[in-house]
Symmetry: C2
Subunit: 319 residues, 2 copies
């Protein structure tokens, strides 16, 4: 199966390494890569460090690459999800299935993209957008038939977890951010984590896909952790609680959805408060299955790459 990558940062490179290791069982080949600055093509499969040529517009890239599936993994633009949304539409226009790890398109334009894919009978997958590749969307689609998701809660951002843990040790916000950056988990612009935009984008993505919302990250009532002091964190701990940046989606009595991302004081035994270090936890509140929890323990770029791979296997089985 011929794959075109749009984007080739740390996730793309981890994905390429994963495909190499899985080649014997899964005959997938990356035959074209486009980044902002350059392109590479080889119908027999590109090496991990290909010979690069000049960049071209995305349509031209896809026409020359002639892939069977397109993987969109450019870096996130939280404001409007572009240019990833346009990349996905360029693939759809050519009848190509798309996988993305970029939460922008799912947070900003899922309902339109889903309709466009359905109208053309094209598969569209995005498992890696919210929980770093842990089965969430595929879990609900494949394993929870007939179940309605009635609400969602989660601690979805690793950087704020690390920062709050540092502040509990008496360190400052800036020191906490520096530590998250040393761990390689902070966004390029850490304010995106600290101000709650990453969590809000994930919250919108979850609501769009699992609760049929039609919202954007701007629809989320959002308070970041920038105004929280080390004293407040320690006071919460002294009172037997844990401060965390919690995301919630709730369906109100009138059917409307309320989406929030804000610091909350959680009881110390609350599951949301007890996932280690960089781990994330997501709770799905359902009609038929009570509350189901998904925990991704200390995820990294390898897990995000695996989520792309799982989507790829899913698409390959259906083509």
């Amino acid at each position: 199966m011929r794959i075109a990558l749009i984007g080739y940062g740390s996730v793309g490179q981890a994905f390429a390494r994963l495909l190499e290791r899985q080649r014997r069982r899964f005959p997938f080949r990356i035959t074209a890569i486009q980044t902002r600055q350059r392109t590479a093509y080889d119908p027999h499969g590109l090496p991990l460090e290909p010979a690069w040529g000049p960049p071209v517009p995305v349509g031209e890239f896809l026409d020359r690459a002639a892939p069977e599936v397109v993987i969109e993994i450019t870096s996130l633009n939280p404001v409007d999800g572009e240019p990833a949304i346009s990349h996905i539409r360029a693939a759809f226009a050519r009848g190509l299935p798309v996988i993305t790890a970029n939460k922008g398109p799912i947070a900003h334009a899922y309902s339109a993209l889903r309709a466009e894919a359905a109208a053309r009978h094209i598969l569209f997958r995005f498992e890696s957008t919210v929980m770093d590749g842990s089965p969430v969307f595929n879990l609900v689609r494949n394993n929870l038939p007939g179940v309605t998701i009635e609400g969602i809660s989660g601690v979805l951002n690793s950087t704020t977890k690390v920062v709050l843990a540092e502040m509990a040790q008496g360190r400052s916000l800036a020191e906490g951010i520096a530590r998250a950056q040393r761990m390689g988990i902070a966004e390029a612009d850490p304010s995106y984590d600290i101000d709650g935009w990453d969590s809000a984008a994930k919250t919108a993505a979850l609501a769009n896909v699992l609760m049929d919302a039609n919202v954007t990250p701007q629809s989320v009532q959002r308070t970041g952790i920038g105004a929280i002091t080390p004293e407040a964190v320690r006071r919460a701990a002294a009172e037997g609680t844990v401060l965390a940046l919690v995301s919630r989606v709730r369906r109100e009595a009138d059917g409307a959805l309320t989406l929030t991302t804000q610091p909350e004081r959680l009881a110390r035994h609350d599951l949301l408060a007890n996932v280690d270090g960089t781990s994330n936890v997501l709770l799905l509140h359902t009609d038929l299955m009570g509350t189901q929890g998904i925990v991704s323990v200390s995820p990294g770029v390898e897990q995000t790459a695996y989520g792309l791979f799982a989507d790829l296997v899913d698409i390959a089985q259906q083509l």
Copy 2:
């Protein structure tokens, strides 16, 4: 789709209610039920409280019922998994797919049953056997392609959780058991929970299915919680730890599996120590996806019934 139930206790009745509610979307009908004392048949679908006739041997029951799928939900025999294993084989002998919520057959005879089903090209599903219907086996099968499970850890038994929590409040083992019985979660014979047999059976089932073991509950190094005193529970708490009955499967350097179910002192922030009340948690340690956690929050008979339903939808899609 015509369904024959073998067993009609609380799970069977919850399953029948669930099918009634889902009838519009999923046209499944229970057309025959067998219990130890009686049988009922109606090719058009049985009501929740059918008119019963006398019991017959299982083969005769299946021949008269002529179902398209058989659901085995007799109560558990922890010693050897019978008569459930024979029920399943009677269905296989007639070319019928089987779903079970009974962990006995999976803990005692999975590898033989899997081979028998495969030889006859028969589907065999058992999602509800370990985590009360939460996606575990279907999660690995459907959503984690190419992943190898390298180890398993979990807190899999609700009764011992409740008993240890009661003991932390200063109450006795007997008082803890009484409370679990009032909550309706203890096995008919609570020693089966307390002595670790329920957890050991789940551990063997997980190892058999997910790590290709060929073990029985007797293969698990097992220590129950019967010898633990309220003082020991409180001393653990005073030292910042939590006592829990933990199950683990580990692959040793020589490839052999070590299976244990025993009380362990966990750090207070350990995910295994922080699932509420009757909730269960399972961690899958993998090669490609790090550690993935599954939490079933306060599961009950409705969740177990849902697991049967999810298996049924899976089979219906493949027939």
